[in-house]
Symmetry: C2
Subunit: 238 residues, 2 copies
């Protein structure tokens, strides 16, 4: 039977457990959501990196005229960068036909840990339906990876992972890891009001205090962005 | 307001996050449960270690007449050891007035990561009421640590942690981490049938396949063991 595992924290990732799995990476607040919105708005490529200096060097090497430097630390735009990590900044006017070098605390740091040859689909609530349909078309075991918050569990990624688990389980016979069972139950608890869950979560509460409340509202819109971002060999494309 | 955090996976543990917290360590299947039962049965001390060779050397140095070597790998007794990790083996006849050197895959490995000066209370369903009353008497922030399974999330430790969170929240105003919120919700989902939850969990299913079904039944007995084991400076005592 097909296995579905959900790693609730980035610390759950051990070497080797990803091999032979379809990978899904989740960082609802906000990298997943922002990446989906950026691709909808016409960005050509997104290059996730873990460190600020690495981001600057990569943007220089690509040529700054068609490249934007994007990212945050502690939720705020990195000084000298073109864009922060709010999906609402990623309008066609700003990002169309641009490559984005993106450096965020949790989401792109997770992607940067994947090894050469590993690919991952990026998922948030905003594209959960697309991701579920993609997973239903394939037959491999699935490993869903939550980016978490500063290396720890965060509620919103677990709930989003649980939404994918619930969608798969509804249509196929699957065997769930303990993490997948937990995520599914948490999703069912919050399915009727994802925005309230985001607002009550530790990171959502913090982002709201910084004035990013509208980002939570955007992140809670199920299937608002009809894209399937795939991370492969260092870059994310549709 | 008093903070309650619940680390759902051992990978969530970062240096420094434990400082200034009352620590609670949970490994329902089976180290927590076995430690409680061993102390009820009259063991004087339990010395948790991470590695098998370390266990053998420690037992030799303590003198083998009053020391038992205890532990498991992949659920089974370690060859040459006196006892495995089934709570049902820990009868007064076997363990009364003995020191136990204990080496298990998840639970004692978690304790071995705590640093000198850090102390932790050991909790399972079998002593959850004692642990909750102890935490209610104190005022410090609380960090509850799940041992997990091979470095990953496991359902039963999260549910047990959630039982403690629910007990504290019922009596005091507390601020919960995302992990504590998730644990509490999982506990509420399974509170009425802990045994069925254990049987359906990944590790419970495996232990049942090895013939340890009765251990799950024992582990599910809320407050069966009225002890408060405390780990301090390398040893666990009441």
């Amino acid at each position: 039977m097909r296995r579905i595992s959900l790693s609730l924290s980035p610390g759950d990732l051990a070497d080797g457990i990803l091999q032979g799995h379809l990978l899904v990476a989740i960082d609802v607040l906000r990298a997943s959501t922002t990446i989906c919105q950026a691709l909808v708005a016409g960005a050509t490529d997104i290059l996730p990196v873990a460190e600020i200096e690495e981001a600057k060097q990569l943007a220089e090497s690509l040529g700054r005229e068609n490249t934007l430097l994007c990212g945050e630390r502690e939720g705020r735009i990195i000084p000298g960068f073109d864009l922060g990590n709010s999906p609402l900044e990623y309008t066609p006017k700003r990002v169309k036909d641009k490559a984005l070098v993106m450096c965020t605390t949790n989401g792109t740091a997770l992607l940067a840990r994947l090894r050469s040859g590993e690919e991952a689909v990026i998922a948030g609530f905003v594209n959960a339906g697309m991701v579920t349909r993609y997973l239903l078309r394939r037959k491999d075991d699935v490993a869903i990876l939550c980016a978490g918050l500063l290396g720890q569990f965060c509620l919103e990624d677990a709930v989003c992972g649980g939404m994918l688990v619930a969608g798969l389980e509804q249509r196929r016979k699957v065997r769930l890891s303990d993490g997948a069972v937990a995520g599914k139950l948490l999703y069912k608890r919050f399915a009727k009001n994802l925005l309230a869950m985001l607002q009550a979560s530790n990171h959502g509460f913090y982002l709201t205090s910084l004035g990013f409340g509208p980002d939570l509202e955007f992140a809670s819109r199920t299937d608002a962005c009809g894209v399937l971002p795939v991370f492969r060999e260092g870059r994310i494309k549709i």
